[in-house]
Amino acid sequence: MRSIRTKTEAPCSQQSVRGGTGARRLAYAVLVAGTLTAACRGGVAPPLGTDRDVPPERGGTLRTAFFTDVRGLDAATAFDTAASALESLLYDGLVSYDDAGRIVPVLAERIDKSPDGKRYTFPLRRGVLFHDGTELTAADVKRSIERALHVKTPCPVPSYYERIVGYSAYHDGKVDSLEGVRIDGDYQVSFELTEPDATFLHVLALPTVAPVCKSAGRVWERGFAIAPCGAGPFKLKRYEGGQIIELVRHDGYWDKGKPYLDGVEWYLSMQSFTQRFKFERGDLDYIRELSEADSLLYRSSPAWKGRGEWEPSLTTGGTFMNTEMPPFDNRHVRRAVSFGIDREQVAAVRSGHVRAHAKMVPNVLIPPTPDYPMQRYDYARALEEMKLAGYEYDPKTGRGGYPREINYLAILDSYAQTAAEIYQQQLARIGIRIKIQVVGWPTFLAKTGRRKTAEMGFAGWHADFPDPSTFFEPILSTRSIQDEESQNAAFFSHAEFDGVLDRARRSSDAKERDSLYRRAEEIVVEEAPWATTYTYSYYELWQPYVKGYRPHPVLSQHVRHAYLDSGGKQREARLRSCGTGLAWLDRVACPRAPARTTLALAGGRR
């Protein structure tokens, strides 16, 4: 058991205050005291509570925050990161991910897949209750999926389910029922696919098609977004847009004894510096959206050593090159760019959150091995590729290179803007001059999606679901090219590449898929439609009394199995909250708290 010391009192905060009389004196005292206290506090506050090995205990409310607001919690329509974290607490699906990131049945008892890979059958658990107390049946599963894919539902991702038989007819409003989803009695549901699809279980694990209560109806209505009802471990207690979402335990949850927490309070639209201040006071128990400066402070603090963890990154960032526009219609120029970018330098600018990365698929999904095809920095090769392209460049004299300045599209106030400045310097060394155009996010999307408009620019992708296909198909396949709204900003079209992706999607053999995606990665290295350069990650922190939480390999902020060790938390949090650093001011600001002194608290159960 460790004793805890609150933040050390600095000598200068004990100075007496001298001044005039009455109100003037008080005002002067407050001003001086505040300034001195502020000046004397540096670094970060130490952790709260004790760090003990305790078995899971029930009780307590976990408090955390988002930088953004949550627009709604209707499973069928909410798809942003913030909403997804809450949806994973409100809804259970037929399948989800275990702690290792593998697909496992949840509301289904098991997953039965036909030999041809075109039929999935799910016998359902008995006695699963929705938040409103009604029992989940196969009809609810079918109704929920049909509701999500209905023509009038503003679901952002219905096309993920296009391989279900009858999808088009149903989604276009031509028929009333989704033919490929069949129910057999109250407790069995099956899915017929038009062709084998290795990603089907992943899209089924998304909250989009999670079963929702009968009150949600057959057709989408906007009211459900603020009154969600599912079969997850928590149910909604309070939803105040831009302020807070409060969840409480669903006592009828099918997994008896879980969840451990009484509730979860999720503050919305909270600035990252406010999150830090509240975390220090114990007003938040877990945070993820620290500013880079604050994250660095915590990571370098001895008191916090080993108490935070990086969230596994499912993101790839870099730069795209439009293969339909000069000079990037010449593959040697693209390869020169790929060889000419020193990824370590790109990452060094924001040490920690940004890391060097040289392949399409994030390391969480395919860990890098020495023989895995990856792009790399090779200055000599970059110059050689420029020569092969017909734009020989002499670094000593600065002569040669590509004669025209190339426009580079970056997003305002993002790391993409910083990275662009680094590319600008690095590519100048191989004879490529780029001019950075900074635009807002919507303009960026519009310009990069339009044919023959953007020569080069920021490229980034986050996994829709944890499968390598999501890093190739939507952004580099010929199918994803359009004249407008193209997601393939490089307008990269490669017959072999497309064939490899099609085979990988249909294959259910893990080894075969691995080798096919390795070939896809090889093609990207050879053809360089993207120069992948970095990956971005969040640093997560939680107080020592928060137990049972680790960043999940797939699900962001997955706190459903967390529990609180109640010992010592309440008392110290109150002291921290009321401690102004000055005894006389503490008596005014928080009269019920003892005067702030160096304090030793033994941990113990409440």
């Binding site: 407050v30 005291a33 505040g34 300034t35 206290t37 502020a38 506090r41 607001d69 627009r71 709604g72 329509t77 798809f79 942003d80 009038k152 503003p154 679901c155 952002p156 991702v157 219905p158 096309s159 906007r222 977004a225 105040e240 847009g241 831009g242 302020q243 503050y267 639209s269 909270m270 600035q271 510096f273 406010t274 201040f277 509240k278 007003d283 807002g440 996010w441 919507p442 303009t443 999307l445 519009a446 310009k447 999606g449 992708w461 986050h462 829709d464 939507p474 994803s480 359009q482 709204e485 193209s486 997601q487 909250s577 009321c578 401690g579 102004t580 650093g581 001011l585 600001a589 928080c590």
Partner: protein, 331 residues
């Protein structure tokens, strides 16, 4: 007088219409696609196209404008579909800003919820800036060329120069984090909590305005204190505070009223940043989110609301001249 008022009213309505029209076309001719923003950067083209159709964004811009304006103000009976009604009803007048693309709620509902917090902070800020401005300006003028005067002038320079995001952060750090006198952010559930939480954002906004008003009142007072009628009042043996308060300050406040009307816009502008810092659920926060996410109906709703407020405030200022200055009333 009545003709003057009618003329002012016409120009006020025209100004609001011009602002609405300009905003609509600026928003709609930008090379941006709200459907893409709504669907998310990774949405597939087919899904984006579906959303565009659902929102009616696939129609020509003039058709959308006509539809928007015809829905905006309607006179008549009850709404045809009460379940999906998204309008404000003022007797037979129905004002409908549409439904937010992203929050999928009627804009009138969002504005109704966001307006009271903004008004609370706005009025508190106004009270702070007028109280500090009038008092500090008066004292500085009375002690002209003294330490108090120079100190006040110096502080007002800092107050005017410091942007609200900096002042807000400093106040939050000092008064909320270090001294724990106010909540760090948030709105609170009870009226007492809300008033307590409103103080820091109001002070942030108020300090900026206070600096400006201090300068204004000081300069006005300095001029007025040299006037003949002030000398007359002093010669009559009236006490100094009576001279200052009754004769000088009352007249010095006239330009202040004008500026208050004109500053409604900047108060809202400042609130946009301040509300974000303090997580205040007002129009400022709503505007920032709407602009970042290109939520057209909300942007339009906010613009219409505030152009109306600013125009109305100036209209009322015009009216108030007549009451404050008898010379204008007689014209």
């Amino acid at each position: 007088m009545i003709a003057h008022l009618l003329r002012r009213l016409f120009w006020s309505l025209f100004t609001v219409w011009a602002v609405v029209t300009a905003t609509f076309f600026i928003y709609n001719v930008l090379p941006e696609d709200p459907a893409r923003v709504i669907a998310g950067p990774q949405a597939r083209p087919a899904d984006v196209a579906r959303i565009r159709t659902q929102l009616g964004l696939d129609r020509p811009v003039h058709v959308r404008y006509g539809r928007y304006m015809s829905n905006l103000v309607r006179i008549g009976g009850p709404p045809p579909d009460p379940k999906n009604d998204s309008a404000w009803h003022l007797g037979p007048l129905h004002v409908d800003f549409g439904v937010s693309y992203l929050k999928r709620k009627p804009v009138t509902q969002l504005l109704s919820k966001a307006l009271p917090p903004t008004l609370l902070v706005g009025f508190l800020a106004l009270a702070i800036e007028v109280a500090i401005g009038a008092a500090a300006g008066m004292l500085a003028a009375m002690k002209r060329h003294g330490v108090l005067d120079y100190g006040t002038v110096g502080l007002t320079l800092i107050g005017i120069s410091a942007p609200t995001f900096l002042t807000g952060l400093l106040l939050q750090h000092l008064l909320a984090r270090e001294l724990n006198l106010f909540p760090l952010d948030g709105y609170g559930r009870t009226t007492a909590e809300q008033l307590h939480a409103a103080f820091l954002p109001a002070l942030t906004l108020g300090l900026y305005g206070a600096a400006y008003y201090t300068r204004l009142v000081r300069d006005e007072m300095i001029t007025l204190l040299k006037e003949d009628y002030i000398r007359t009042a002093r010669a009559k043996g009236q006490r100094e505070w009576v001279v200052v308060f009754r004769h000088a300050l009352r007249n010095a406040l006239l330009p202040l009223v004008t500026v208050i009307g004109l500053s409604m816009g900047s108060l809202v502008g400042g609130a946009i940043v301040t509300e974000k810092i303090f997580r205040w659920p007002g129009i400022g926060s709503l505007s920032v989110d709407a602009i970042v996410e290109r939520d057209g109906p909300v942007i339009m709703g906010v613009v219409i609301l505030f152009s109306t407020v600013v125009v109305l405030a100036n209209f009322l200022v015009d009216l108030s001249y007549a009451f404050l200055d008898p010379r204008i009333r007689r014209r």
